[in-house]
Amino acid sequence: MEFAPILISLRTASVAIVFTFVIGTWLAYAVYRTKNEIVRSIADALLTLPLVLPPTVAGFFLLYIFGVYRPLGSLLAQIGVKLVFSWPATVLAAVVIALPLMYRSAKAAFTQVDPIFLQAARTLGLSERRIAFRVLFPLASPGLMSGGILAFSRGLGEFGATAMIAGNIAGVTRTMPLAIYSSVSGGRMEEAYRYVVILVLVSFLFVWILNFVSDFRSKKYRLDAGRR
């Protein structure tokens, strides 16, 4: 068993979650603030789509956009960036696949914040930006954190889209799920078994932590304290 896939997987998931968290939260905030219901429902459906489609479809679209013979891909190639079949492509795949989880968790977290706190903030003269960072995000933070952990765990286990856009290059893009696939197809069941155990344990650890996140802040203050 090599350790490279473990390190690559952790590195990919760690970098991916930064993008997933920021982009997912931002998208959720944008949709949450959209007043037009048609626009909102279409955006919501589009952003949820990667959750239900096979990851290979996401991989297909990514290849379609970033492939070296496509407009954006060739543009990137001209400035010396070859994304496809490189390590950053594993990050890209993980972000795209985990984004719906982050988006949906964040949106649910925002929706659950009692609007009366936002109304109070508005009548106290706070700007919308300040309301977002000082009131909405802190009150939604348990939901944001659990969304983040869910998205991180999903990124760690990403296989389909990664295989299509990043390939399976040992020591570069071979993450744990790909290493398991390689081991099995090479008949090295013992090796696959070890990767599986590690991946299950790490994923379990994060999903287990999830349980504590929702209680984490509410111990200091009750979230419903405004209503009496």
């Binding site: 009548t123 706070l126 203050y221």
Partner: protein
């Protein structure tokens, strides 16, 4: 300072149509739940947008549908005390107050300390709202609003979350705060006691309309219509037939009554407050009754009387706790205590207070 409101807002099953201007002094909006009083307040604060109309505070236009003016809540300079106070639960008392202080304030720390002292919150600044009593929460909410220095103070059922002992204390406290504050005050309440104690002007709302407006004491003394009589706590209301200038038949009780005031053609009902009957001092009108039920309260007793002669409606009478009411067969009513009322649909077109 003055407040001018003339707005309309339509929903599928409810229409709000409110029109008033308040020159000076504190204004109460009194009505049952669902009458549109909180919605009116939210429209003034900018939390709800009317379909059409104008809202002005002094010379400043807050909303004008024709001129396409709709200031954001934060530009309106309106302080809003929510029924639940809406303190930010993730912030300490200190931070709750600090966040409302304007950037231009020179010395934030000094301002916060002064507010903490003024609202008797010193020592609680590091607590979270969940760890405060109801009264303390309300004082934090008030301190937070005054940190923002609003032009108009709006109170949305401010005492409903407090128990009755605390409520009386906070009412006195609020009277002191209002006396020191020189902006407009609008109080929304379903409690006639609160409206009477705190505000010198009154609007009575029902089904999205203002049914009566005026000085609080005037409206209580002469409600003018059935809605206002009910909302101000008049328990006995009867339809009438006019017999002569000072004589009428109370149809629901089947008795003829003498009034001090002239009975006009548009008077369709009368109201009599439950306190205004007496069984000892004889007055112009005597009504033969039988005691149906006595409900004893801590300080007074409520007596349900049936009128002899097969009347449709009973009469509520409230008298002192120590009165012996068991053998009462006749109650008296002075002609000056009969409130002459028009039916409920008289909406004044303009309420200038």
């Amino acid at each position: 300072m003055s407040l001018y409101v003339d707005i309309k807002k339509r929903y599928k099953t409810f229409t709000l149509e409110v029109n008033f201007s308040n020159g000076d002094g504190t204004l109460a909006i009194l009505g049952a739940s669902g009458s549109g009083k909180s919605l009116t307040l939210k429209c003034i604060a900018g939390l709800e947008t009317p379909d059409e109309g104008v809202i002005k505070s002094g010379d400043r236009t807050l909303f004008d549908s024709a001129a396409k003016i709709n200031l954001a809540p934060r530009e309106r300079n309106v302080g809003y005390l929510f029924q639940s106070y809406a303190l930010f639960p993730h912030m300490t008392v200190w931070d709750n107050i600090a966040i409302a202080i304007r950037d231009r304030a020179a010395d934030k720390t000094a301002v916060i300390k002064a507010l903490l002292e003024r609202y008797e919150l010193t020592g609680l600044e590091k607590r979270y709202p969940a760890k405060l009593s109801g009264g303390q929460q309300q004082r934090v909410a008030l301190a937070r609003i005054f940190a923002y220095e609003p032009e108009i103070l709006m109170l949305d059922e401010p005492f409903s979350a407090l128990d009755s002992f605390l409520r009386e204390n906070m009412q006195i406290e609020l009277l002191r705060i209002i006396a020191e504050y020189n902006g407009d005050v609008v109080l929304v309440t379903h409690s006639r006691d609160e409206a009477y104690r705190i505000c010198d002007k009154l609007l009575i709302m029902e089904d999205g309309f203002i049914r009566r407006g005026g000085g609080t004491k005037d409206v209580f003394a002469d409600p003018g219509n059935v809605t206002a009589a009910r909302v101000t706590g008049c328990k006995n209301i009867s339809r009438i037939r006019r017999l002569s200038e000072h004589r009428l038949l109370a149809e629901d009780w089947g008795v003829e009554l003498e009034t001090d005031r002239k009975v006009e053609e548009h008077h369709t009902h009368i109201g009599v407050r439950a306190h205004d009957f007496s069984h000892t001092s004889s007055a112009a009108n005597a009504i033969d009754v039988a005691v149906e039920r006595v409900i004893e309260g801590p300080f007074e007793q409520t007596v349900l009387l049936s009128v002899r002669g097969g009347a449709r409606e009973n009469i509520w009478w409230i008298c002192g706790r120590n009165e012996d009411v068991s053998g009462v067969d006749r109650v008296f009513l002075s002609g000056g205590d009969i409130l002459l009322l028009t039916s409920g649909v008289v909406a004044p077109s303009r309420n200038v207070l």
